[in-house]
Symmetry: D3
């Protein structure tokens, strides 16, 4: 889990939306002195992801619960495996329960979904996109990496990616846009150009970008593009985007592309089932 | 879209995670004076949800884009339908594009997923849960309501729900817990009791809660429970939770329960496909 | 004291307004190493309220003071009773003193004022309103409940209350407004209708709201209203608002209303006198 | 109304506590297109205070209401006088109503309470204290000044005030504390010393502070102190604190003190009655 | 280091700008369990300033590093002197390193620059100004005081300073402006008047301000001004501003002025050289 | 000026530190209705930088001032040139004056300092570092780029830089560290290795990083290193850091290095002189 202040803000917001008006049931039903232990348990096969968030929830809520991790991010477990344990005031356990589970179910869901897809990649680099849940950019990307795929750029500020819209906004088209960019970009920052056809590819290759993105190319189009790229003075990395499916991965690998990028790693990952079991036989006045 | 400050905080966080280091490509590739218009377009059949968030993104980013809604939340559209239009500085359109689409794809995804499920409910009330994405509580619940289902409580503070963990934390079990709660809860606040068996149901009915939740009861168990409930001095509303499927709805309706609650409305809703088309033939110095 | 993030924000704001430019006297007059203990003492008869806020002030200020509660919220004490003790760096005690006392004096003030009023209620439910100090909603409502009265809704989001302004904004008056509301409100959320006369009451009763609020009805008007309500197919709870005085409570009880709501619990509660006594004979290098 | 960011934070918090879960009634009962005008009206004699806060509430809520002030802070009005008008979406008027009124009722309450006390001061300077509502420091002090009294220091950072606790924390008592302070305080910053008896007064005068505070001195003690002060090489300002009543002001003025400080200006000021009247005959599609 | 919430906000912002996207190198190159100790070392002669900020960085980042100060603010050290030590997870040390050093280098830079200038003041009070780095007001002023100069007002809210622009904004010039101010300013708040010539000085003296600021007066002009001031009924403090140099201080002292104010203490202070040495021979699993 | 939320937070903090207690002089000396225009004027030769921050200050303060830019970032101007104009309420102009100037003086100071250094680079890439003012990362880096130098990485999250401390933290030294990093870094992210000697260089070259940083190498050492680098299978970019001076640039260029990095661009840049001239002959009731 990356130690970014942005993640803490999301945790804080999650607590606020659930606790802005307090936890009325906990305050009514449970005495302030009552203490419990609780286990967080996988209810299905899943790739564990997000265990550190448990402590972050406890910390942001200013709770005094003791947290013990019983598994590790990236491990594949089956149902009934214990992922972590909590111990402390029962009111705090119950107030934090839903928030903790909601985080773990999404994070492990993305990691599990990614792991399943990756199994067919066999060496082809699989990249995520910026199609992450608003507020969840770093967490979703962390889950993707735990699942075994790789991170594309994290934000609009850490890598140049010249897309169709940038090209079309320039009166001299792709050449005009790339002249602007290549002449003044920060020298170490990688840059990528998205191309829609062989003409744009030819121009892009002249500027020697770090990566070429073939956008929605069919396999035959990719074959032609790879030949043009091979003939370029400096071979960029080649990424294919659009229409990526598990079934197509073998063909893409064979075509010699370096990477594919796939939004569905984060847009179509269902939550996995994780629950909390509170053990109230433990009691300390 | 509810006018809550919490939603604005999520929008603000979403912008921050994408723009903390600026939009390096937009600043390099597009001149500050360049202007465009853009259309937000559905790419598949979907239930529109979240159009107001477009203005909120523009506002939180302090952008000067003009936003025009071209559809309405709750409407079912097919692919290629225009949902909204933007006009203004191209840099701002490109900097906001991904954030706006990420919001709309999730919100319309939940609304569409809910609408599909609701079609089989035929009058049975379908409720969401607190299994929403952390940071997204109000938005997810809004999308559920746009999809046609109903909102259960919004947070831990607006309704009492005595669950198994509250009961087990009490040395005198369900009777002890309900005595604490019923005697001191805010008088107008609704309260619900989750029961696991007929014994707990019998005790719960003595306390005349607003709602009884039958937790993971099979259909035959529900039948028995409904008889006991019918014999109670004051009939509470009856909610069934756990194991809800589209196929089971007819049977539940026939058994006379008032409502079902289903976490998958928000935990298993895939994003729908919505994209932005920038029209750069529009140009104003 | 409810564990809401909103309360922590108020505590944080209170510290900021006093300490934005530092504590110049403490830094000049007292050495960083000097340590003291201090007692927080009631200076008059009062109902204790808000002891938890002491720790919250210390925590939000990132101070290292040890806090020991010596009383309990809700207890009625006389002058000179010790409510809590602090121990640690003298600079921190002096920097936190005024903020802590300002919180306790208001909170105990509202609790004491409420307790005094409640003594005449003899079983009639006394409710607060949303006429709380801006920023203090949860704290003021907590103090009212510590004083012995009950909480009406906490915010605009946790209960429906159709007021005159909602009715007048509808072209078909009360019937139009109630049709809108009753058909689409969240199913478990309680709802209340404020009526100004017998005609509005008659319409409201048709819709079977959870609560009817008789707004500024004289006692004879209430008598007539109670008869109409008794004849309704489903008897709602009845709340009287406007012109509530201690003297009128017996008559209202006799008329059979369920509850009264009174803004003055929070708008007319003077602070009570609580002070801090620093004991500097305790000294540790 | 001071233009401080701290005031905006309080306004923001006030909106959040009321609107965190949205305004459920307004959204259900009133259509998004409905528009109204509204008048804010005094319901009793009062000193107007806080009109600027109306715009701040509208602005922080990102509402599009037009606000027109119809009175001025500091003016004394009678019941039924219109203080301000609002116009725009009815939902926004109703969502902002309670927050606006809660601010105005407190601020005008403090101003009115202060004005009443000040009427007996006849030239004696009356000062407030730091016994303001947590979160309300600048607003309470603004209201005191609108009421006609003067502001003592605003916070712990803008003036030195050596109090008993600072003195007692010093192993060499008042002389030790004043040596520390007088030698190193920022040169332009005013400084005040609180004394409990003639001995402390004698030492304090040696250090030539800006102000001497006579803490809980009876009138005869003040007379003796004034003689000692008159004999000092440099006469400081003299403030009396503790036991200030309206009846005692004439005697204190006669004794020649410069100022009195009184916490009750902010701790015992009841809210005044101000309400909003929505006029829905105005309607624009 | 003042305990102001504003300083904590700057520390938090500093961490956010460096860590918003995480510390990718630390996470890749160093294992989560690796631990180190580190020494913060002066690399040149300097006046130490800001040691407390080390703990604040650690605290705001929620790191678990142990911090030990090995020097004291205000001490003059030479190269290779150890200022502080850190111990704990290596990842945290490396993630905090640059932020800590950036703070210390600026703060010690201002303190050292001030100390050098102060050496020529020989009793003349040297004041800073509000020309501090945005976001750094309290820190820059703290560093100036550690360097040996004095703080002028901290903000626009803690002292009145009537400047040329205020005077020119008044239709009756300086007399009009001073009448407004002197009649209604908070009674204890010090006030200063900036004058540009003998005529303005004459008017200002009538109003008996706490301080007169001679703005850009040559030495001969100051001599004349001092005579006029000496003849005034009450001698204010005299501050000279504009064109202050180390060489001119002796002459100004001799002219009898009380203080000079100099923006360059904070606008022209270069950072000093301080570095961190990580000792990785310390290792604990 | 980058459109990052982090910059807005710094602007907001800058306003808060100056205005937390309001602008007491402006409120006393100037009527609320008084209006002025003002020019922001260069007082020396400088490279203009930061004009957009003027609008940001006005916006964050919620002021209604009209801002007109009269120059452009990057332009070199001489004294007396007008950079921008403001018009609106005089109180707002005076309240914003110091904050605006403090921003412009630092930003233009860094840009001017950079431009002066760059003049000797003649094609050699000059890079900044992360030695920026805490809170000012994006602004300092923007000013460096306006001055004509290039930006190294922006934060710990957008590029891998393996430094000595990372190497020393690894039990197998540089080879161990680079194996960890090169095997799992995000595929497009550039990575750099800092080497202290020829042995480390030899190992680093095996891993084919994007950039090699020669840390504190003398010119002869650089010559040897360049030969080893030329013989490597893939030539990385070469950056020299430590001991960079204007005089040494020609030699470094001749040695064939690609870039130098220099902390002093941001650590030793004095503010430049810019002031505001308020024109009060403009007056509108």
């Amino acid at each position: 889990m990356r130690g970014s202040p942005l993640v803490r803000k999301l945790v804080s917001l999650a607590l606020e939306e659930d606790l802005a008006l307090g936890d009325v049931t906990g305050e009514l039903a449970v005495s302030a002195e009552h203490r419990s232990s609780a286990r967080i348990v996988a209810r299905q096969r899943l790739v564990v992801c997000g265990l550190e968030v448990i402590s972050m929830v406890v910390e942001e809520a200013r709770f005094s619960l003791e947290v013990r991790q019983r598994s590790r991010d990236g491990v594949e477990v089956n149902g009934e495996e214990v992922l972590a344990e909590l111990e402390g005031p029962t009111r705090q356990i119950l107030a934090a329960e839903r928030t903790i589970l909601n985080f773990l179910q999404r994070l492990s869901g993305v990691a599990t979904h990614t792991r399943d897809f990756i199994s067919a990649a066999k060496g082809l680099t699989v990249l995520d996109t910026r199609k992450t849940l608003p507020g969840w950019r770093l967490l979703d990307k962390y889950a993707v990496s735990v699942g075994g795929a790789s991170n594309h750029r994290l934000s609009l500020g850490d890598m140049v990616l010249v897309k169709n819209n940038h090209i079309d906004a320039h009166s001299h088209g792709i050449r005009g846009a790339l002249e602007r960019v290549s002449g003044s970009k920060p020298p170490y920052m990688p840059w990528e150009v998205e191309v829609r056809n062989m003409e744009e590819l030819a121009v892009a290759l002249e500027f020697r970008p770090t990566v070429i993105m073939l956008d929605n190319f069919p396999n035959e189009g990719i074959r032609a593009a790879m030949q043009a790229i091979a003939a370029a003075p400096q071979r960029p990395l080649v990424e294919v985007s659009g229409g990526i499916t598990k079934e197509r991965l073998a063909a893409l690998r064979e075509l010699g592309v370096d990477a594919v990028s796939a939004g569905f790693l984060t847009t179509h990952a269902p939550n996995v089932d994780i629950s909390m079991r509170v053990n109230t036989t433990y009691y300390a006045a």
